[in-house]
């Protein structure tokens, strides 16, 4: 490119102890351009972002911002220099106890020259200016907890943009947004691009990447594995570079179930939702898909006893099934790998084997005394079974990569035989290699139980499941056998629209 890069990283290196995470990364960002950074989990994306945003110190290499040496000592310094980062966790970007106006102007309360006393009218005036420039249409008085995730995200970005940054880094900003919400975010990014901001966009989602990318940079094992700038962008090559192997979408030989394991009659999940029935057979893997917030997790929690249905009845293995708690569900043979493992799964004070044995300690104890030897043997077996990369079963969970942590969560629940095995967003924050491992394991072990996965990404459903159920507005609106699927009908169901024309 003719113009000089606004932001340039050269030979960036970073190690944690003996682990080299970044081994000499070069990256250029130009103003008015969206660079998408792709990388599997553990490739070093987060580390790169944290160095650029002043959270971590680099071990070696150079960073130049607008031609000058750039070495931020803290996130605040990075922000003042003009490098603004919006982190993955949306709630980190906003202060829940303050209203929108204060959130938008929060950063002006710090640093040299910040006024000692608050002037509410000035805050509102400044906040209005920020909101207008960013095209935000929400009440400045609104409390943050009353906003949707997307709106909170917008507030966080708008607040960041109030600094007139030269470089904006977005770390998986759509990971908890629905597609309509994501579209609003994309429109905002388009506006920022037009204003000449250099944007580094980190994401796993192909739909985001197709929509936004001017250039794609693939990161693998701490090194740049490929840069793709020629139009039209070669997405497949970028994915391959990130993975280091060709991974086309696998097709499934759909199996038919033998006999019903679980069935639900007239299940009602939410006020005003249409009751639905469903039946799951022995040996089949069924995916429930749909947008974020359509009740997939509500269904998972209902089947797992963490939530009561508003109506209807369930049957598991021929007898009435109405679990009042997860404990009862587990005793009845229904297991759930909950979504969002760091929040709902991992006990961070526990090591790998203690995490795996958690739900089944009773079976691994005699007279209440836990048998650690048995726990460790079981964990070693599961580590081998799922190919978990760790030094031993006594490793801390925090030393494992995201994909391996997720495998531990899956291994935890596969340690005992289930009748109904459920996984809510099992591929969330997991690199594609681990995702294929987990999916293959699920399919290989499917006999003898009903397997139900809840996924937002259609690709994940298509490459894992025998049968796909589509949810919308807390009910099931469609069913497809995973062979020669009518994608138009499926997508229309996902979008919650009636199918038009002849099918």
């Amino acid at each position: 490119m003719a113009e000089d890069a606004v932001f340039r990283v050269a030979g960036l290196r970073k190690s944690f102890g003996p682990n080299q995470v970044l081994g000499g990364v070069d990256l250029d960002l130009h103003s008015g351009e969206v660079v998408v950074l792709m990388g599997a989990n553990g490739a070093g994306k987060s580390t790169l972002v944290k160095i650029v945003s002043g959270v971590y110190r680099r071990d070696g290499g150079q960073m130049m911002l607008a031609g000058f040496d750039y070495r931020p000592e803290s996130p605040a310094e990075a922000m003042r220099a003009g490098v603004v980062t919006v982190h993955q966790n949306i709630n980190d970007g906003v202060v829940a106890s303050l209203d929108v106006a204060t959130n938008l102007t929060l950063d002006r309360l710090n640093g040299a020259g910040a006024p000692l006393f608050l002037n509410p009218r000035r805050i509102r005036r400044e906040a209005r200016a920020v909101a207008e420039r960013m095209g935000l249409h929400m009440s400045l008085d609104a409390a943050i907890p009353d906003l949707s995730l997307a709106d909170r995200q917008m507030v966080a970005i708008a607040r960041a943009m109030a600094h007139e940054p030269k470089v904006l880094i977005l770390d998986e900003p759509t990971s908890s947004l629905s597609s309509a919400e994501a579209n609003r975010l994309f429109a905002l990014i388009d506006r920022l691009r037009e204003r000449g901001v250099a944007i580094l966009y980190i994401s796993h989602r192909m739909s985001d990447i197709r929509r936004l990318a001017d250039r794609i940079v693939s990161l693998r094992d701490g090194q740049i594995a490929g840069v793709f700038a020629d139009r039209p962008l070669d997405y497949e090559a970028a994915v391959n570079a990130m993975l280091g192997q060709a991974m086309g979408r696998r097709t499934i030989e759909p199996r038919t179930a033998t006999g019903t394991v679980f069935s639900a009659e007239n299940l009602k999940l939410a006020e005003g939702a249409r009751p639905f029935s469903l039946s799951l057979g022995d040996g089949e893997v069924v995916a429930v898909t749909g947008l974020v917030g359509v009740g997939k997790t509500a269904l998972a929690e209902t089947l797992f006893g963490a939530r009561r249905p508003l109506g209807g009845s369930m049957t598991l293995k021929g007898s009435v099934y109405a679990p009042a708690s997860p404990g009862e569900a587990i005793a009845g043979g229904a297991f759930l790998v909950a979504k969002d493992r760091s929040e709902n799964g991992i006990v961070s004070d526990f090591n790998v084997y203690e995490n795996m044995s958690l739900p089944f300690l009773r079976r691994l104890s005699t007279f209440g005394v836990s048998r650690r030897r048995a726990e460790r043997a079981l964990a070693r077996r599961q580590i081998a079974e799922l190919g978990i990369v760790c030094r031993s079963e006594r490793d801390d969970m925090t030393t494992l990569s995201g994909g391996n942590q997720q495998k531990v969560m899956v291994a935890r629940w596969m340690a005992q035989g289930a009748s109904l095995f459920m996984l809510d967003e099992p591929f969330q924050g997991v690199d594609i290699a681990a995702r294929h491992d987990i999916a293959a394991k699920l399919r290989a072990s499917a006999a003898g139980r009903a397997t139900l996965i809840f996924v937002t990404e259609l690709d994940e459903a298509l490459e894992t499941a025998d049968r796909i159920l589509v949810m919308s507005e807390h009910t099931i609106v469609g069913e497809h056998v995973n062979a020669g699927i009518d994608m138009d009908r499926l997508l229309a169901e996902v979008a919650g629209q009636p199918v038009r024309g002849a099918a």
Partner: protein, 331 residues
């Protein structure tokens, strides 16, 4: 293992042994069985309370009411024997019942009404400090005292009950080990085994580390939390029984330092063996550490009013050990 890891892991124990060595050399009579027993005896009651509060720390809670539970139990024991003229067994059962009930109420407030643990137990502490004064209109309880209605209380502490405070078991040397020390050791072993080796203890740690994950792994989280407070309450009431037996009266003014001392012991315990989390062994060592230090300093003629300062300093150092040197909360 790097030298840093070793320092974190064994630093505090090394410090304890160094202290013992130092006092043994410089304070005459420190290195004797009597002195050792005296140290144990001096920390017995706070140690028992600290072991109880450890259970609540394990589930991610806190119990500020333990000190007042102990003094309430002490007053109750005196009241039952002196005013109601009952025997030792009834007195002990009444105390344990009070501990269990207070624990249940604490647990209920925290789990079901969702009052934050510090606030709920702070409120309960306040309530108990007041409650224990009501039956006697704020007076201490001793044989021959005049009751609010003008009658004279003629009951007395039974010999069996007083033996809890005064009897000493033979251990190599005749009449060496007091009952309170035996109780401390037994309870320490019990709670240590419970927390480290039973599935209930493990689940309590899971609840403390990630409540939601424990719940989704099928654990009855609410029950575990309530049980932790019941354990804490019962341990505190045992401490109160021993306190009453030692004093031989229901002294309204005693037990002021119990809460802070025992919480300090439990928090010092975080630093032992680099656990960086509540643990029974650490709590016991923490209590001993404070005991050794105070006994040694006293024998070296340090004035009594420096004691709290020393305890506070030890606590601060231990907390630095736990949070700054270990890997908690940073990469």
């Amino acid at each position: 293992m790097t030298s840093r890891d070793i320092a974190i892991r064994y630093g505090f124990l090394a410090l304890l042994f160094a202290l013992i060595g130092f006092f043994a050399i410089s304070a005459e009579g420190f290195a004797s069985p009597q002195s050792a027993v005296f140290i144990f005896q001096s920390v017995a009651i706070t140690g028992i309370l600290a072991l109880g509060v450890t259970a609540t720390l394990v589930v991610g809670g806190f119990d500020l009411s333990i000190g007042s539970v102990a003094t309430s139990a002490m007053m109750a024991a005196a009241y039952v024997m002196v005013v109601l003229e009952q025997n030792a067994l009834v007195a002990i059962l009444a105390c344990l019942l009070i501990g269990a009930i207070v624990g249940l109420i604490n647990g209920f407030l925290i789990v079901y009404t969702r009052v934050p643990d510090l606030l709920a137990t702070l409120g309960m502490m306040f309530l108990l400090v007041g409650l224990q004064r009501i039956p006697t209109e704020g007076r201490s309880i001793a044989t021959g005292m005049t009751m609010p209605d003008g009658s004279v209380a003629n009951g007395k502490f039974s010999d069996a009950f007083l033996a809890l405070g005064r009897h000493r078991f033979d251990f190599f040397i005749p009449n060496l080990v007091p009952v309170s020390v035996v109780v401390l050791i037994v309870l320490a072993l019990l709670i240590w085994f419970f927390l480290e080796y039973t599935r209930f203890g493990r689940m309590m740690y899971a609840v403390g580390s990630n409540e939601r994950a424990a719940e989704l792994a099928g654990a009855p989280v609410k029950a575990y939390k309530i049980w932790a407070y019941v354990i804490s309450g019962i341990f505190a009431s045992i401490g109160g029984i021993l306190l009453a037996a030692r004093l031989g009266r229901g002294d309204i003014a005693s037990g002021n330092n119990l809460l802070l001392d025992s919480v300090a012991a439990a928090l010092i315990g975080f630093a032992v063996l680099g656990a960086a989390k509540p643990n029974a062994f650490g709590t016991a060592v923490g209590a001993l550490f404070v005991g050794v230090l105070l006994q040694g300093l006293t024998m070296m003629n340090a004035p009594y009013y420096t004691q709290d300062f020393v305890k506070g300093a030890v606590l601060v150092v231990a907390l630095v050990f736990t949070f700054a040197l270990s890997n908690r909360g940073k990469r």
